[in-house]
Amino acid sequence: MRTKGIGLFLCLLLFLFCGNTACQRAPGDAGQRTLHYFTWSDYVGPELLAEFERRHGVRVVVDTFSSNEELLAKLQGGATGYDVTVPSDFMAAIMIQQGLVAELDPTTLSNAATLEDHLQRLPFDPTHRYAIPYLWGTVGIGYDSAVVSTPPDSWAVLWDPRYKGKISMLNDQREVFGAVLRSMGASMNTKDPALIEAAKARLLVQKPLVKAYASDHYDQLLASGDVVLAHGWGGPVARAMMDRPTIRYVVPKEGGTLWADCLVVLKSSPRKELAMQFINYLLEPHVAAHTAERLLFASANKAARPFVPARILTNPAIYPPIDLLPRLEWMTDVGEALRIYDRAWTELKMH
């Protein structure tokens, strides 16, 4: 019978993987303390995790989610057992409101004392009772200076017909509307239906010029030259710079989004003390600096700056220049007006 061969083949497959990962899933590893970190894919270096595991004699298991909404759905659906997670600022606000997040113990979080000045007081959590900012940055325009020869300084460049079919916008309704509203001199958190309607009209005018509404792969579009102007977060633009050195990044003079991904301990966590030690560890200057270098996002800990390589520190796509800060705005909950945004966004996409 050939069947023995097949069984053998399957066993081999299993052993191949198990051997390489020391068979983490095998039953019987429950004796050790385990910390569950629920985060974005590739958001933490494996060697940093290993160091924490060594120091505290624990095991850190990383699970990944792909969007803030997915994270919320998972937690609302009743998933328990995760200890630490990293929502973006607006999602952290929602999670705090819904009581999903545990209160932090400031005495454990010694590294939170040296946060960047503008991150000392988060609008939704002014005293860091629930959330500690981890990484932060801006939303602006990544452009190819070889094609866009006059450096743009306004959102208006995204309406320039010369770049028809060479423009990408984020596939994110609040961010897209935020950019237009800022270019109109309004707040990106406006609840005024007339303003939102006007913003939609401007976006409809722009639509024929837009190649793609992309949030995930605009760094690739930029680097390959498929687009020469991309509306997006700084980190991926910085990544595109590595492949195409003529890429530049600018936050238009009308201003843009200031964002921060925040570390929180979940209320359902069975190991809150260890979870807080983990957060404190991630904020340690050398750990934070290493993370900033790896992910190309700025660390929230000011004390990390001396350990960050100069090329990262001076790249405006990664570390926004401090003089930019007055022009930046946090995205906040717009309440009922979200429905107006929803409808306007749908109309834009359907058109």
Binding site: F17, N20, W40, V62, S67, G81, A223, S224
Partner: protein, 255 residues
């Protein structure tokens, strides 16, 4: 006549191209030296090496294999038992039960995922790798049942009568006659169930708890932090393994 043949031939070719073209491109670009999926910069095995060094991916792969193995065994135990047991149920009832068992195959997977999630939450079972295994076993039971039932229908009922005449008890007949005759179908069904479990995203998405990130979940979240050819390499391996298992399964069922 000849012309019609040529036309059909071309249509079939187009069909195959439609089915396998995207997969071929995916595999081709997993050997791309460039990080960008749009530009070709020559052959390289770099992404396969990166894959092998990525601990989080390998942990996800181990999760996937572990889930697939356990859920397949569960589905085989339940599915084969069901298929054999149904033989003893009279005509109309048999058909009704058979049809009722097909429900997990026809209801949208999202609904199955949500209902499983609600079910686990209601019973205060915390989500983990175990809940994923249970979920996978659920949709694999009907798969196993259908394949094994098809084989049972082809068996000669007189074989069992002969066994009984020669003094075999029900269990003896099952063990020495029925199961050996069903073996190719059971193995084929097992491989099919294994493959489906390995590839599943939706039910896994809803039932996965801490420490239960499987490969498809991992790939999905990787897309967010930038498409890299590592994903291509991983998907290429997945396609090859899945196709190999399906091929093996079909081969076994034909014997």
């Amino acid at each position: 006549m000849k012309q019609a043949g040529g036309w059909l031939w071309r249509l079939s070719l187009a069909n195959l191209l439609f089915l396998y073209g995207p997969i071929a491109v995916l595999i081709l670009f997993s050997f791309n030296a460039s990080r960008l999926s749009a530009t070709w910069q020559g052959w390289s095995l770099h992404w396969y090496r990166a894959l092998w060094a990525d601990q989080s991916l390998l942990a996800a792969a181990a999760n996937s294999l572990w889930v697939a193995t356990v859920s397949t065994i569960l589905a085989l135990l339940l599915g084969v038992g069901l298929a054999v047991g149904l033989e003893g149920v009279p005509g109309r009832r048999q058909r009704q039960i058979e049809q009722a068992m097909l429900i997990p195959l026809v209801i949208p997977e999202v609904m199955m995922g949500v209902s499983l999630l609600l079910f686990f939450v209601l019973l205060h079972i915390s989500l983990s790798l175990t809940t994923v295994m249970i979920g996978h076993a659920l949709f694999n039971v009907p798969v196993v049942m259908i394949i094994v039932r098809a084989r049972i229908r082809k068996l000669d009922p007189r074989l069992l009568e002969v066994a009984a005449d020669l003094g075999a008890s029900y269990w003896d007949a099952l063990r020495y006659v029925t199961i050996p005759l069903l073996r190719p179908a059971i193995l084929g069904a097992g491989l099919m169930a294994f493959t489906i479990s390995l590839d599943d995203f939706i039910v896994t998405f809803f039932t996965a708890g801490p420490g239960a990130t499987t490969l498809p979940l991992k790939v999905y979240s990787m897309i967010k932090s930038g498409m890299s050819p590592e994903i291509n390499a991983l998907s290429a391996l997945f396609v090859v393994v899945s196709m190999g298992l399906i091929g093996l399964s079909l081969f076994l069922q034909r014997r």
